[in-house]
């Protein structure tokens, strides 16, 4: 593949948390249009990896390149126009309406003094419609349910329009219907926008359905990287999750379950 389509690249990336080595020499390339799933037991470093890729914490070694440029060469604001992140939780102590919150997604695209233009409002409205929250635009964030907040966070990310979407547990708090529709929505846009998704999830079936490649973080040993077909097998998963995992076929899909 040509180098131009590589959005994100890590070279010999090393991650440590409190002296424990999560990975020592992780090298991966993420192409435009791709959806990479990050799987692994609790505490194997899924969130740490995403935070490192988003430059929210320093790497413990190695290099990360976004569009061929070292992550550190980007200004924080320029970085936010290219790379957006969905977090596991949000702070709602300070009051704000749904509409105001979605508009925050436009922040990196606007100069300091400038107010949001009609185009920004249109993008925010479209994002709310995409997640089915358009009727709640005037509601207080504090009055939303957990699932509605997760959809709001997703709408904010959609309004941000990054090239690289980092999703930390995108299925959190969501009903099964919204889990699927949210990711369908996002994955459908990837080819036209030249964007890519990297999502960490504990839901193997969600990853099996949407991810083309899988990075499996393991409690012992280096992470495994490969196509979904290669990695998502009962043997590999059982070893990585420390319990017996079985698989069943449902039509063309495979469904994983703990035995």
């Amino acid at each position: 593949m040509s180098n131009a389509t590589v959005l994100l690249e890590t070279r010999a990336l090393r991650l440590e948390v409190a002296g424990r080595v999560l990975c020592d020499a992780l090298s991966l390339q993420l192409q435009a249009g791709e959806c990479l799933g990050v799987l692994g037991q609790n505490g194997t470093g899924k969130t740490t990896l995403l935070h490192t890729l988003a430059r929210l914490r320093p790497a413990n070694g190695g290099e990360i390149l976004l569009q061929g440029r070292s992550l550190h060469a980007w200004s924080r604001k320029a970085l936010a126009t290219q790379l957006g992140m969905l977090f596991q939780s949000s702070s709602d102590e300070m009051p704000a309406s749904v509409e105001e919150t979605v508009l925050l997604g436009r922040h990196p695209h606007l100069p300091d003094w400038q107010w949001e233009a009609a185009q920004d409002h249109a993008l925010a409205r479209a994002a709310l419609e995409d997640v089915g929250l358009q009727a709640m635009a005037q509601r207080e964030v504090a009055s939303l349910s957990g699932g509605e907040r997760q959809r709001l966070a997703l709408a904010m990310l959609l309004a941000q329009q990054p090239q690289l979407y980092l999703l930390d547990e995108p299925g959190n708090h969501l009903d099964i219907a919204y889990q699927v529709s949210a990711l369908q929505l996002l994955c459908a846009r990837l080819p036209t926008q030249g964007a890519a998704v990297c999502m960490a999830t504990h839901d193997i079936n969600l990853a099996a359905r949407f991810c083309t490649r899988i990075l499996l973080l393991r409690p012992h040993g280096e992470p495994l990287l490969g196509s979904a077909q290669e990695i998502l097998t009962p043997a590999i998963l059982s070893e990585a999750y420390g319990c017996r995992i079985g698989v069943a076929s449902a039509g063309t899909r495979r469904v994983f379950f703990a035995e």
Binding site: K77, A78, S90, M94, L104, G105, H107, W113, Q138
Partner: protein
């Protein structure tokens, strides 16, 4: 509540501010009402009234406005910095440091100017102590900052009590007035006005970033805000604003905590609107409170800090009750 056009709220507050200035100019123990004030403002006639207006009332009204504006602005910033709706300008111990120094100056029989200077020095000392301790691990966690500030504040509180219990009766009276907040000796200079305008413009420039910061440090960072730098700016700004207010008028409670909440309940949550609105409402509110403080029991004067709470508590509770019934 539905969002109204920002200009509607700001114009209403501007009108309130002008009205409050006139009320404030017309209040006092001398019998000298609005008509006479307007006559003096239009065509100045030399005499006692002119002297009272220009040498006593106008400077005091300005002091009240600037102090109220400083406190309300500082309160808005402190609440975002700590991401805690209960934060007020004094929560990190700035007023405690100022109070200990001011009380010590009162004890030594210093003049009003030196009491103010001591208060400012005490406030700066407290800012540096909290900054040094909270910044120890090179990060700016809101919890760590809050804890450090509250603990330092408690330390100052103990020193204040030592000073109060060991002082002679006559100085205790002026100490209590200082602690409750008092504008009777207050004058503002260009420095305070400059600090207010400087803080206002810096934070208006960062206002959209503050909206983002309110959603959490990591989220703000991911949306392109340099969080550590913004928090440092916030800390310095809110500290200097508070130090300035405490120097002018002692620790006047309630304004910095409640004015930002009143405005948020009225629909001003966007900091680009909230910041200028807090300056206008904080200033007007303290001017009106001070007008009452010097006219309710005239010729005696109440400490203005008492009046802010007496008016502010019912007004705030009414707004809270009203908006809750609208929203649910």
């Amino acid at each position: 509540m539905r969002q109204r056009h920002p200009l509607v709220l700001l114009s209403a507050l501007l009108g309130l501010t002008l009205l409050s200035f006139l009320v404030s100019f017309s209040s006092g123990s001398a019998d000298f009402g609005l008509g006479a004030v307007l006559a003096q403002l239009v065509g100045q006639e030399p005499g006692l009234q002119q002297q009272i207006l220009f040498e006593l009332r106008i400077p005091r009204s300005l002091a009240a406005f600037v102090t109220g504006a400083l406190l309300a602005l500082s309160g808005v910033l402190m609440q975002v910095l700590l991401r805690n709706p209960l934060a007020d300008p004094y929560i990190l111990g700035i007023s405690g440091g100022a109070a200990v120094a001011a009380l010590a100056a009162i004890l030594l029989g210093a003049s009003a100017v030196w009491i103010s200077n001591a208060a400012f020095a005490g406030a700066l000392l407290s800012i540096l102590i909290v900054f040094g301790l909270a910044h120890g691990d090179a990060t700016w966690s809101s919890t760590r900052l809050l804890l450090t500030g509250v603990v330092v504040s408690a330390g100052w509180g103990a020193l204040i009590n030592i000073l109060l219990t060991t002082s002679a009766n006559n100085s205790v009276y002026s100490m209590l007035f200082w602690l409750m907040g008092d504008l009777s000796q207050s004058r503002v200079g260009w420095i305070s006005v400059g600090i207010l305008l400087g803080g206002l413009s810096l934070m208006l420039w960062r206002a959209r970033a503050l909206n983002v910061l309110a959603r959490g440090d990591l989220q703000a960072e991911a949306l392109g805000v340099q969080v550590q730098r913004l928090k440092l700016q916030l800390y310095v700004c809110t500290s200097v604003l508070t130090a300035c207010a405490v120097t002018i008028a002692g620790s006047i409670g309630f304004v910095g905590l409640v004015i930002p909440h009143m405005l948020r309940l009225l629909g001003a949550r966007d900091h680009r609107l909230l910041i200028p609105a807090a300056v206008l409402l904080g200033g007007s509110f303290l001017m009106l409170a001070d007008s009452l403080a010097r006219s309710i029991v005239a010729p005696l004067q109440l400490p203005v800090g008492v009046v802010t709470a007496i008016i502010g508590v019912p007004v705030f509770l009414l707004i809270l009750r009203h908006t809750r019934s609208v929203r649910e």
